[in-house]
């Protein structure tokens, strides 16, 4: 129970920190972002839009504390103001239209990369000293590849030269978005290249981590005892070695998922995939702070939820954390 409470406090604190960082960044950087934006869209903004902008990015005539309270009010009501890159759409509208694409893509890719990487890592660790050791330098190379560069290669080879897969959209224009097979099939087809890119680039991290933990775990006494007891190799490998070796993968989920999300966002840009990455790119190019900070909050929130799930899974996998 205490563990759950501590975790809850941690997540609330992290969420608070993310929101506060978002509040502070435009206020501590030189210049006045709000003023710049208002100047830039001079005449196009309504009085209420200007007010919202000031609340988000700095009200020179208010106390910092009052600004902070106003800011929280905005955030909690989901009012992130207008987007400039997608003027005159509201930030929330832009997010609602793009977030599902990114969410599904990253979730599916992370699950596949984690499962396949962990399985391969288990085997590579178990068969240490065989040809599988050559997976180490190979996967090290793959995990050092920048996602977006690998995406460029995929575009050239599979979209331009071989013309096997389409890019530039999330689904075929002939389909209508909805729960129909035509759309789902088309969306899956368009997602193949981005998905393969993300999976290939992120699988190495899981694989290497799992392999090293397997090798470490294999020298534990309980693995030796399991072998001595005459258990099948499969049971020794899965229930005794892998079952313990996988725990750090869950514990280290936070950092890994941060990288995957970062890489995936840039990958989307290369494929012009209609997710949040392209939006972030446009926002950054147009200095669209409202949109950028909202994206940062949303992504942080997604990462926090993913971590929470990993924590819950960890509690199920490791009986030692369940009590005390």
């Amino acid at each position: 129970m205490r563990v759950v409470l501590r975790k809850a406090v941690f997540y609330l604190l992290t969420a608070w920190a993310a929101i506060s960082i978002n509040f502070l960044i435009p206020r501590i950087t030189p210049g006045d972002p709000a003023d710049n934006l208002i100047q830039q869209f001079h005449g196009k903004l309504t009085a209420s839009a200007i007010k919202a902008l000031r609340v988000l990015f700095g009200q020179p005539h208010e106390s910092l504390w009052q600004q902070y309270l106003d800011y929280w009010h905005q955030v909690l009501t989901g009012n992130f103001g207008l987007s400039f890159a997608y003027f005159p759409s509201k930030v929330s509208t832009v997010l609602v239209g793009t977030l599902p694409w990114t969410f599904v893509l990253i979730t599916v890719c992370t699950v596949i990369a984690f499962v396949v990487g962990t399985l391969l890592g288990t085997l590579a660790g178990w068969k240490r000293g065989t040809w599988l050791d050559s997976l180490v330098p190979v996967t090290t190379f793959f995990s050092s590849i920048p996602y977006f560069w690998f995406a460029l290669l995929m575009v050239v080879i599979f979209a331009n030269i071989l013309r096997w897969f389409p890019i530039g959209s999330g689904y075929s224009v002939d389909e209508t978005i909805g729960w129909n097979w035509g759309f789902i099939g088309s969306a899956a087809y368009y997602a193949v290249l981005p998905a393969v890119t993300i999976i290939v680039a992120s699988i190495g991290g899981w694989l290497l981590g799992m392999r090293n933990m397997m090798v470490t775990t294999l020298s534990e006494d309980y693995v030796r005892l399991a072998e001595a007891k005459g258990l099948s190799r499969r049971r020794v490998m899965v229930t005794y070695a892998a079952r313990n070796a996988i725990l750090p993968s869950f514990a280290g989920f936070a950092m890994s998922i941060g990288f995957v999300v970062g890489g995936s966002i840039v990958t989307e840009i290369v494929f012009n995939y209609p997710g949040i990455g392209v939006v972030l790119f446009h926002a950054a190019q147009a200095a669209d702070y409202p949109l950028m900070s909202a994206i940062f909050l949303v992504i942080t929130f997604m990462v926090l939820v993913a971590n929470l799930l990993a924590d819950i899974a960890y509690a199920f996998l490791d009986p030692r954390t369940r009590e005390s």
Partner: protein, 692 residues
């Protein structure tokens, strides 16, 4: 929320990671992969320095040769405005490396400060700093750097370095904190604190130098992260796009549709460079990891192909395989005169194979174990007794190898099994059915994520596949009952049991298939005296009830004398004395045994001075010439440094015999004044030679 390395650091820091020279880790950089890594890294660092001087063109110079494929004039081709890609790469290397290593340095300094202070200070400072690090660890770095970079418009390299540094210090800080926490408890740090050293001095003189390897690893991973982050930011146009870096080249390539136009020469080199440098850095890190976590170097149990081949080639004619299972005769009480040998170990040699070196851990060990007998094997740490325990059960791991010898097991039906000739599958069936082992530390030998009941059940299931689930469950409860664990603890996890309970559970695991022989490797060492007593009594009670034979290994000679029928004393990998426990207690023959006996008090004997043995156990890699005990032996004479004494058989007054490997008995008769009792002689004798 630790990741693999941190967990390992936390686990290993207690032991081997800081052993030896502080710069010993540099030696671990000799593996081929690490050398490749160093070469790759050096390659790029060199080009970062000389790049601008060897570049054939000005990287921004526009020319008429637009979109040219690679040629002699332009090795890497040209861009859409005719700029030379090779020159851009050569100039770009400098900025990419500068940002990567610059961020690495700043972020590492931050993590060292936070990690060391948090780990050393503990308390509220630690809580706050750890929380800060954990929060930064969870925050997604890329969107955060995008915002920061966008708000510092067109920042130069310095701005990017700062942005990357403040978003990527948390991971290193976490690892270093864990490492500091464990170092803090070490003797040398405790000692420094006790003598009133200032915390700053302790941190920087005693703790920091011991973490160089961890810091180096954390630095190299930060450099990799920084390289990738800088490339991403540059690719998104968030850095100064007129300053050439690998990311900037990709930015221009992307903005001019290089990928759509199949201009691979334009965008392949920068990405490949990032990937290769990243690989180089990671490979170096692998070398450091193997140093920090020595287990990564050890071969796992998957690497037994060579061993198997060796064993196959040695299969002996004696083997009739394991006989069909027979009902065992009711346990006959063991007597000294018994000739019912169940386990016969002959001339067993176990070596540790190193880089071209062979270290004998068990040398020419022979003994027999009779049905119902308790054979106690005593020895100091490093005497080879645990290696022997593993070798008997064939559980030894590389680099340990049985180089020669024979281990014969007599089945209940009288047939003989050559244990060393068993195939892996035969061995799997034989072990636990006939011969089981109880490990030293129940804490480490029980699977932490599996219930106690399941860990007994799976052994039964593996050997008796025909047994039904309920029957196995009943057997598990019965076994736990035998060792004195209540049936409601079947579903308990190891961490929910006390130390004594865990050791009982271990014994229950060992008894699961009602084996004939149980090897017990220091089964009570980690327990307090009261629990130790209970466990030993339980073992003896079970032995009488179930009639198995025991090889009991410990350094605790007093315990051994009490529970054993026969005692073997090991020194320097050899058995130096072998005698019935009573005879041993009254008339220990070997000077080493006498030394051991005089190092603990008797309960009802006369008061005497406890002398023990001076000096330290020998290093198996450099055993003294002749008798390996000679440097510590109070009665050694010249010949002892020349001749390795074999076991001499000594007739005893009781009518039995003892064996001792000591030249004093070369003539076959006990030397007067030596064998007249353990408790009077050595203390009063004039030491012939002072131990070194």
């Amino acid at each position: 929320m630790a990741m693999s390395t941190a967990t390992v650091v936390e686990a290993e820091a207690g032991g081997e990671s800081v052993r030896g020279s502080r710069f010993a880790w540099l030696r671990s950089l000799r593996s081929p992969l690490t050398i490749v890594g160093i070469a790759l890294t050096a390659f790029f660092v060199i080009f970062a320095i000389i790049g601008p001087f060897v570049a054939p063109y000005d990287p921004s110079q526009v020319s008429t040769a637009t979109d040219a494929t690679p040629s002699w004039g332009h090795w890497f081709g040209t861009t859409h405005v005719g700029q030379d890609v090779l020159s851009q790469m050569l100039y770009g290397t400098q900025v990419s490396i500068l940002v990567g290593f610059g961020s690495g340095v700043i972020a590492t300094v931050l993590s060292v400060i936070v990690g060391l202070v948090a780990g050393y200070a503990r308390g509220i400072v630690d809580d706050v700093l750890s929380l800060l690090a954990n929060v930064f660890l969870v925050l997604p770095i890329l969107p955060l750097t995008v915002i920061l970079a966008a708000l510092l418009p067109k920042s130069g390299s310095l701005g990017i370095i700062l942005v990357i540094s403040i978003t990527s210090w948390a991971w290193g800080a976490r690892i270093l904190r864990a490492q500091t926490l464990s170092l803090r408890r070490r003797d040398f740090v405790e000692a420094a604190r006790a003598t009133g050293e200032r915390p700053g001095t302790i941190i920087f003189r005693d703790i920091f130098p011991n973490q160089i390897a961890v810091i180096a690893a954390s630095f190299l991973s930060t450099v990799t992260v920084a390289l990738l982050t800088q490339a991403s930011l540059a690719f998104l146009g968030l850095t100064d796009v007129t300053e050439w870096s690998w990311g900037t080249i990709l930015y221009w390539a992307q903005n001019n549709s290089a990928s759509l136009n199949n201009e691979w020469w334009w965008f392949v080199p920068p990405g490949l460079a990032i990937a290769l440098l990243g690989t180089g850095l990671s490979l170096v890190n692998f070398g450091i990891d193997e140093f920090i976590n020595p287990r990564l170097r050890q071969a796992g149990i998957g690497t037994k192909a060579s061993q198997r081949a060796r064993i196959r080639s040695r299969r002996l004619a004696v083997s009739g395989g394991r006989g069909a299972r027979v009902e065992r005769p009711a346990a006959a009480a063991y007597t000294q005169a018994s000739t019912d040998v169940i386990l016969d170990i002959r001339n067993l040699n176990v070596d540790y194979l190193g880089d071209g070196t062979v270290t004998p851990a068990v040398s020419d060990v022979s003994f027999t174990l009779r049905r119902g007998e308790v054979l106690g094997i005593a020895g100091e740490s490093g005497s080879g007794k645990s290696t022997l325990a593993y070798a008997i059960t064939r559980l030894h791991k590389p680099p340990a190898e049985i180089s020669s010898g024979q281990m014969l097991y007599t089945n209940a039906d009288g047939s003989v099994t050559d244990i060393l000739a068993l195939t892996p599958e035969e061995l799997r069936k034989f072990r636990w059915e006939e011969l089981s082992i109880v490990f030293q530390s129940a804490m480490h030998a029980l699977n932490p994520v599996l219930r106690i009941g399941a860990q007994i059940d799976d052994a039964i299931k593996a050997h008796r596949p025909e047994m039904s689930g309920p029957a196995r469950a009943a057997r598990v409860v019965e076994l736990l009952g035998l060792v004195g664990i209540q049936s409601d603890r079947v579903d308990a996890y190891p961490h929910e049991l006390s130390g004594g309970m865990r050791q009982r559970a271990m014994i229950a695991v060992g008894l699961a298939l009602d084996p004939e022989v149980i090897v017990m490797d220091e089964p009570t060492t980690a327990l307090d005296v009261v629990i130790q007593r209970q466990i030993v009594e339980k073992i003896m009670e079970l032995k009488d009830k179930l009639g198995f034979s025991v090889i009991f290994i410990t350094h605790d000679l007093s315990l051994l004398i009490e529970l054993s029928d026969t005692i073997a004393v090991m020194y320097g990998g050899k058995i130096v004395e072998y005698a019935a426990a009573d005879d041993f207690y009254r008339h220990a023959q070997h000077p080493y045994s006498r030394g051991l006996l005089s190092s603990f008090p008797t309960l009802n004997g006369p008061k005497r001075e406890l002398t023990g043995i001076t000096g330290a156990p020998p290093d198996l890699r450099k055993l003294p010439t002749g008798c390996s005990f000679n440097p510590r032996c109070p009665v050694a004479f010249d010949k002892c440094t020349e001749v390795v004494p074999p076991l001499f058989t000594i007739p005893l007054a009781t009518g039995g015999t003892a064996e001792a490997a000591c030249l004093l008995y070369e003539d076959g008769a006990p030397v007067p004044g030596i064998s007249n009792g353990a408790h009077d002689s050595l203390d009063s004798r004039e030491p012939v030679k002072e131990a070194s």
